[in-house]
Symmetry: C2
Subunit: 411 residues, 2 copies
DNA sequence: ACCGGTTTGTGATCCTCTCTTGCAAATGTC
DNA sequence: GACATTTGCAAGAGAGGATCACAAACCGGT
C-alpha cells in the first residue's frame, strides 16, 4: 500500500495528480457519478473537471455515458464511469479452511470469483503457491484474452512483512519465515507488483470501503477463527506499523492464568475467544473445525446449556478484550468478522455489558459493535483494494502505460 | 491538532501553502538552515525557495542572517531562522504533583518556564484554572510588552475531548465532565484558540519531535505515575481516535484476578504498573506520593529486597503489557516516561525478557524500549508543539494577520 | 595578488494548472 | 412556446513553480 509520507516539495503537477486521484477514488468508492456530482464532491470547477475527465477518457481509465433522466430541470450531466472491464486486479486469499481467487474491475466489481476448500493443517509453500497459481490461471482463462491485471493482492492468515511479502509466522499453515511474496511473483509471472498482507488488515480495508465500516474513519476489525487477528483503521488509513506487523490483537495478553498460545506466550486473547476456546467449553473436539462450530451454534440455537455457556464465556472474554482495545484506539466502530460475526447474535448483549463495565465511559459511548457485512470474502476483497491502491493514489502514472499496452496489443 | 483528511479538490494555492508549510516545519524541527539546505531538503528549486522565503521574511515569520563560514567552496548561503522571539506559544500543564507554564518561541526554544508543586488530591476546576491563569500572567509579564502568543496548549492528566476541551474523567483531580477548555479560554482572555489534550498524548508528540522518538514514525509513549497513559504515533501522526480519547493503555484489562481500578473496571494495567502497585508491594503507604517513590528507588539502589521485589513485579507486568501493545501497534520505539522512566534502569532486563516471551518474534525484533529524554517536561513541551501546529500546517494564514497585529500595535 | 573552479543568489521567461467569465446547449415548468 | 435552471464549453487571466543564463561570493593553488 503506497501511503507513505508525501514528499515535501510540491509542484503544480502535484495538484493535477491529486485531483485526478480524487476523481478516480470517488468513482471507485461511490460508483458512477455525473460530472456535476463530481464537481460538487471535489469542489473543483466545471472546467477543471472537464479537462481532467477528458484526460482520463483518452487514457481509457474512464468512460462517459449519456446522462440518465432524473426529472430535474436543467441540462443533464453525463455519467462518468470507471472502465471496469478493462482495469482489473487479481486478488488471492489463503485462509485456514480455503483458498480463494477473484478478479475485480475498477470500482470494486467482482468479475470472477472462486473459493475452494482446503484441508486444515500444515501445507508447504510450494503446494499452496501452486494451487493459487492454478486458481488464478483458471480465473484468467475465463476473462478476455490478453487482459492483464494492474496489480495483485494476497491475503494470508499470518504475520506478513509488507515490504517483501515474507510470511514471518502462520501457525495455521505451519509457516515460519516463508517467502510467499517472492514465490507467487515468480509463479504468476505477471509484470505487476504482488502485495501480500495479513487477512485481518485487508478485511478491515474491505469493510472500510465496501462494508460495515463505511463512512467511519476510526475502525477496529476483529477477525476470529482459530486465531484472532485485527485490522485497525486510524483516521481513514490502515495502521500497519513499522513493517506491516501491526494489528495482532489476538496476541495481547489478557489472562495470565490462561492457557499457552500457539505463539509461545500464555493467556493471549485468542486462547479465550478463538475457535478452540469455544469448542473446548462446549465439549466438542478441539480440531473439529467448521463442522464442530456449526454444531455448537446449532446447539445454542436449540438451547443446549453447554453450548450457551460456551458462547457466554467467549462473549465475556470478547467484551473484555474489546474494552481494552476501545480504550486504546477510541474507534467509531468495531466490526466482528469470521467466526465472531457468526456468534455475534448470541453474545451481543454480553459484549455490550462488558464494554459498559470495562471500557472508559467516554470512548465507550461513541463506539458501536456490529458484525461484518462482507463475511468470508472480506479479506479477499481487501486484497483487491490493496491492489487498486496505486492506481487510486496516482492515476496519472497509468495514463501513459495504458496507451503503451494498447499499442502492444494492436501491434 | 489540525491534521484532518485533506480536502479533495486541490488548487494551485494549495501548493504554495504546502511549500510554505514544509519550509516552516523543517525550520521548526531542525533549527536554522541555510537556503541551500532548504533546497536540498524540500526538493524545490532555488528560485522557488527564494520567493517563499521572501514572503516569510516580509511576513516577519522568518529572518535571514549572514551565512556562517563553513570552509567549503562556493558562494555562502544565508541562514534562515524562524523569528523565535516574536512568534511564541503558551503551554500549560496540569499534572498530578504540579502545575507548569512555559512560553516557547518558534523552533521550540523555551523562553519562559516555571513549574510549581501542587498538593495531590482533588481540586476544583476554578482553583486549578485560577492558578494556571496566574502562572501564565506572571510568565507573560517577564516577556516584552504586547507579546501575544499565537496559540495555547494545555496538557492535563485526564481523558479529554479535543474538540471542546471537556475533561471527561480525571481521577487524580476528581473531575468528571469538567469544561477545562472553556474556563481557561475565558480566564486567559487571549484572542487565540486554547487546545486541551491528554498529557500522555502530548508527551508522545514532544518525544517524537524533540526527544527519544526523534526520527521514528511509529512510536508508543507510556507515561506512568499513579495512572498510566499512553501516546501513540502512527506513521508520524498522533493516534487520537474519534474524539481524542485514544491511547488510554492504562485501562487495558490485563489481570482478571486483579484489583479494582479507579475507572470502575478491574485488573487494568495501571493497577499493576502504576505508582500504587509499586508502593504496595514495597510496603510503603499507597498515598506516600513522590517521597515514598523516592524511598523505594533509594531502597532498591541500596539492595533492599522488598524494594527490588516490588520493582521486579512492576517490571514483569510492564513487560507483559508492552508485549501486547507491541503486537497491536508494531512500533519502532517504546518510550517510558514519568515514573516508568525512573524505574527503567531497574527493570530494563526484565522488560526485555518479557517481550521475548510474550511478544511475537517479528514485531519484537524491530522494537526498542528506551526511557524518556525530556523527563517531566515532555507533556508541557508537547502542549507547545500542539499550539504550534496550526502555524506549521498553514503559515500562509499567519502572513496576513501578523501585519494586522503590527499595525494595531503601532496605532 | 590573481585566476579558475564551485556553489549559490537573482531575474526573466516559460510551462502547467486552475479559476473566472461569458455564452451556448439541454432539460423541465408554466 | 417562453422562461428558468442546470450544465458543458472555450478563451483569457492569475498563480506558482521550473528552467536557464548570469552575477556574486567563496575556496584553493600558483
Amino acid at each position: 500500500m503506497v501511503m507513505g509520507r508525501e514528499e515535501l516539495g510540491q509542484r503544480s503537477e502535484t495538484v493535477r495528480r491529486a485531483n485526478l486521484s480524487a476523481i478516480v477514488r470517488e468513482l471507485h468508492l461511490h460508483g458512477p457519478l455525473s460530472r456535476s456530482e463530481l464537481v460538487a464532491r471535489t469542489g473543483l470547477t466545471r472546467s477543471a473537471i472537464r479537462a481532467l475527465i477528458g484526460e482520463l477518457v483518452t487514457g481509457e481509465l474512464v468512460v462517459e455515458e449519456p446522462a440518465l433522466r432524473l426529472g430535474t430541470p436543467g441540462r443533464p450531466s453525463p455519467l462518468v464511469r470507471l472502465a471496469t472491464e478493462s482495469t482489473v486486479v487479481l486478488a488471492l486469499e489463503i485462509s485456514i479452511d480455503s483458498l480463494a481467487v477473484a478478479i475485480l474491475g475498477a470500482g470494486g466489481v467482482v468479475l470472477e470469483h472462486r473459493r475452494v476448500d482446503r484441508p486444515r493443517g500444515h501445507s508447504t509453500l510450494e503446494e499452496i503457491a501452486a494451487d493459487l497459481v492454478d486458481l488464478a490461471r483458471a480465473a484468467r482463462a475465463r476473462r478476455p484474452l490478453g487482459e492483464t491485471p494492474i496489480g495483485v493482492g494476497v491475503a494470508v492468515a499470518g504475520i506478513v512483512n509488507r515490504s517483501d511479502g515474507l510470511v514471518s509466522f502462520a501457525p495455521n499453515l505451519g509457516w515460519v519465515d516463508v517467502p510467499l511474496g517472492a514465490t507467487l511473483t515468480a509463479g504468476l509471472a505477471l509484470p505487476v507488483p504482488v502485495g501480500v498482507a495479513n487477512e485481518s488488515d485487508l478485511g478491515a480495508l474491505a469493510e472500510l470501503r465496501r462494508g460495515a465500516a463505511r463512512g467511519a474513519d476510526d475502525v477496529l476489525y476483529v477477525h476470529g477463527e482459530v486465531g484472532v487477528g485485527g485490522g485497525i483503521i486510524v483516521d481513514g488509513r490502515p495502521l500497519s506499523g513499522i513493517a506491516g506487523y501491526g494489528g495482532e490483537i489476538g496476541h495481547m495478553p489478557i489472562n495470565p492464568q490462561g492457557r499457552p498460545c500457539r505463539c509461545g506466550s500464555t493467556g493471549c486473547w485468542e486462547t479465550e475467544v478463538g475457535e478452540r476456546a469455544l469448542l473446548a467449553r462446549a465439549g466438542y473436539p478441539l480440531d473439529g473445525g467448521r463442522a464442530a462450530v456449526d454444531a455448537v451454534l446449532a446447539d445454542a440455537a436449540a438451547g443446549v446449556p453447554e453450548a450457551l455457556a460456551a458462547l457466554q464465556s467467549v462473549g465475556r472474554w470478547l467484551g473484555l478484550g474489546l474494552a481494552g482495545l476501545v480504550n486504546i484506539l477510541n474507534p467509531r466502530r468495531v466490526i466482528l468478522g469470521g467466526l465472531l460475526s457468526r456468534i455475534h447474535p448470541f453474545v451481543a448483549d454480553l459484549v455490550e455489558a462488558s464494554l459498559d463495565r470495562h471500557a472508559l465511559a467516554a470512548p465507550r459511548r461513541l463506539v458501536s459493535v456490529v458484525p461484518s457485512t462482507l463475511g468470508v470474502d472480506a479479506p479477499l476483497l481487501g486484497a483487491a483494494e490493496m491492489a487498486f491502491e496505486p492506481l487510486l493514489a496516482d492515476p496519472a502514472a497509468w495514463l501513459g502505460t495504458r496507451g503503451a499496452l494498447v499499442q502492444l496489443e494492436s501491434a
